[in-house]
Assembly symmetry: C2
Homo-oligomer: 129 residues x 2
C-alpha cells in the first residue's frame, strides 16, 4: 500500500560533473525521462562540480514548485567517496534553509540491486557470452 509518507513530491538528482560538456548529457537525459515518469513531482538535476546547476539551485527549484518531501538521489557508481562525504555536507544547509521540507538521501544509484544487475548483464551481453 502506498502512503503519503513514502511518496516524494520532489527529486533532486546529484551527479559528479566534469569539464567535458559531453559528460553531462546522459544525466540531462535521465532527468527528462524521470520528470515524465514521476509527474507531477518535479525532478531537478545538479552537479557537485564543473557544471551547473549547483545542488542548492536544484533544491530551490523543486521547493519553489511546492515540494515538501524531497528525495535526493546520488547518481554515482559507488557509495564511497563523494556520496559518503560531500552529499551529506550539501544536504545539511538545505535542511536548515527549508525547515518545512523533509530531505531523504538515497544511496548511490549504482549500488541499487537492479542497477548492479543491469551493469553485469550489459558486460555479459557486450562480451558476447
Amino acid at each position: 500500500m502506498r502512503t503519503m509518507s513514502t511518496t516524494f513530491d520532489g527529486v533532486v538528482l546529484i551527479a559528479h560533473g566534469a569539464r567535458d560538456e559531453r559528460w553531462m548529457v546522459p544525466f540531462h537525459r535521465m532527468r527528462a525521462e524521470l520528470e515524465k515518469k514521476l509527474a507531477p513531482a518535479r525532478v531537478a538535476l545538479s552537479f557537485l562540480d564543473f557544471a551547473p546547476p549547483k545542488f542548492a539551485d536544484a533544491v530551490a527549484e523543486v521547493c519553489a514548485a511546492g515540494a515538501r518531501r524531497v528525495l535526493v538521489a546520488p547518481v554515482f557508481l559507488s557509495g564511497g567517496g563523494h556520496v559518503a562525504k560531500d552529499v551529506p555536507e550539501l544536504v545539511a544547509p538545505e535542511r536548515a534553509r527549508y525547515p518545512h521540507v523533509t530531505f531523504t538521501v538515497a544511496g548511490a544509484i549504482g549500488e541499487e540491486p537492479e542497477v548492479a544487475s543491469a551493469m553485469a548483464a550489459a558486460v555479459v551481453r557486450l562480451a558476447g557470452c
Copy 2:
C-alpha cells in the same frame, strides 16, 4: 548465432578509483560476479587512479591467462571525460605490447540501454511512485 569473432576470452573492467577504500567495493563485487558468469573467460578489474590494480596490470593478467580477444569495459556513468580521453590513451600502448591480442573498447557502461533504464527504474522505485 554466436561466432568466435564476437566472443571475448578476456574482459578488463576499468573504473575511476577514489581515495576512500569503500569506493572500490562494488567494483570488486561486479568483477567477481562477472568472472562466474563469463567463465572460462578471465575478468580483471583496474582503476584509472588512486587504487590498484593499474590498467596495464589487469591487461597483463588476462593475457597471461591466455586471452587473445579482450573486451575493455569502462565502468563509468558517462562516455564523456575519462572514457573519451584517458581510456584510449591507456589502451594504445597495450595494443603495441600485445600485438597478437585484439582489444575492443566498449562505451561507458552507464550509457548502455539496460543500465540507463535500470537507473531510472531505481529512482522511480525509491521515489515511491
